[in-house]
Subunit: 194 residues, 2 copies
């Protein structure tokens, strides 16, 4: 419609999408709070997993040997990825709250940037959870073929922490997936309404 | 603008978004072809990784022992995820080509569904690559703390296949991330134009 005056177009657009945008931002904030909380719990449970046990190294001789998360590169990557997700959720959560309180300055643009970054972080978080899960599974079950013995029969508390952290860490990934979905949904809704 | 007649609004929308949608669908098809090709290569390299070697089990006695990808659960998950990605890329690729040839029936709706599924598959693919990568790293470097010996010094060809497959398998994840980005970008573009 080239006959429509250019000055009227922005007004038409913003009046159509406001209700949907506000709902979207509320859901967005809730998901970011969930992302922050679950990532923080997963980090704390993981970094407090240290367990020291007396391991027999020779007949009649045992040495205290500690199992720590930072002895495994996959767990270090996992904690780093969770920390990034935690930090990211604080910044974007605050920006979302700001957009909710003072809804000016292009919510569509913010939605776009958030969706891009959320998808990237989803990839990072999922790969970190996968890496930690893959290694954790070897610790839990061992692998006869490669001669890797399970260690969970010895370091029970350590393993319980790893397992707990991994279970909780599914939630940040799910939250990020939902955030991408909500953004895509909100963007589609805007097109349908405009 | 409530003064605009409802009958004109859809026409205005569709005429504005056609060029952008067509470009988007072309990029979409190219990325899906890339997803298919790289996932297929990664699967083939992984499943052909079997290597049999004579391993000394006692002084003067050696047994032929095979290393196969399906001895490790993380690698099985990895191959399954890649297969799903491969299969998914065929179906969605065909639908995209169809949308390109016969651009009727809501490209926005298709874009929305694709973005939702792409994001889900991105999470699955990234976690599978992470799991296989975490386990592959132990095979390559070993872990002194847990007493897991590296096996790449023995099964060289097997490890070369795993490493090659893992390197290639970064591309399907990147393709899926780009697909999500392209969808989000195309949806935002449509709002900006409408």
């Amino acid at each position: 419609m080239s006959v429509e005056s250019p000055a009227l177009a922005p007004e038409y657009k913003s009046s159509a999408g406001t209700g949907a945008t506000k709902n979207h931002v509320v859901v967005d904030v809730v998901l970011r709070v969930m992302l922050f909380a679950t990532a923080l719990v997963a980090i704390i449970v993981m970094v407090t997993s240290k367990q020291t046990k007396l391991i027999p190294v020779a007949p009649g001789m045992a040495l205290p040997i500690a199992a720590k998360f930072n002895q495994t590169p996959a767990f270090i990557y996992y904690v780093v990825a969770l920390s990034v997700a935690c930090f990211y959720s604080i910044i974007t959560g605050l920006l979302s709250v700001l957009a909710l309180v003072k809804p000016t300055g292009g919510p569509t643009k913010m939605m776009f940037h958030f969706a891009i970054l959320d998808a990237l972080l989803l990839g990072i978080m999922a790969s970190a959870t996968g890496a930690a899960g893959g290694v954790g599974y070897i610790g839990y079950k061992g692998n006869n073929h490669t001669g890797w013995n399970k260690i969970c029969n010895i370091y029970g508390t350590f393993c319980a922490h790893i397992a707990g952290s991994l279970t909780v860490s599914l939630l940040p990934s799910i939250a990020l997936l939902l955030l991408v979905w909500v953004s895509v949904f909100a963007l589609s809704k805007k097109i349908a309404r405009s």
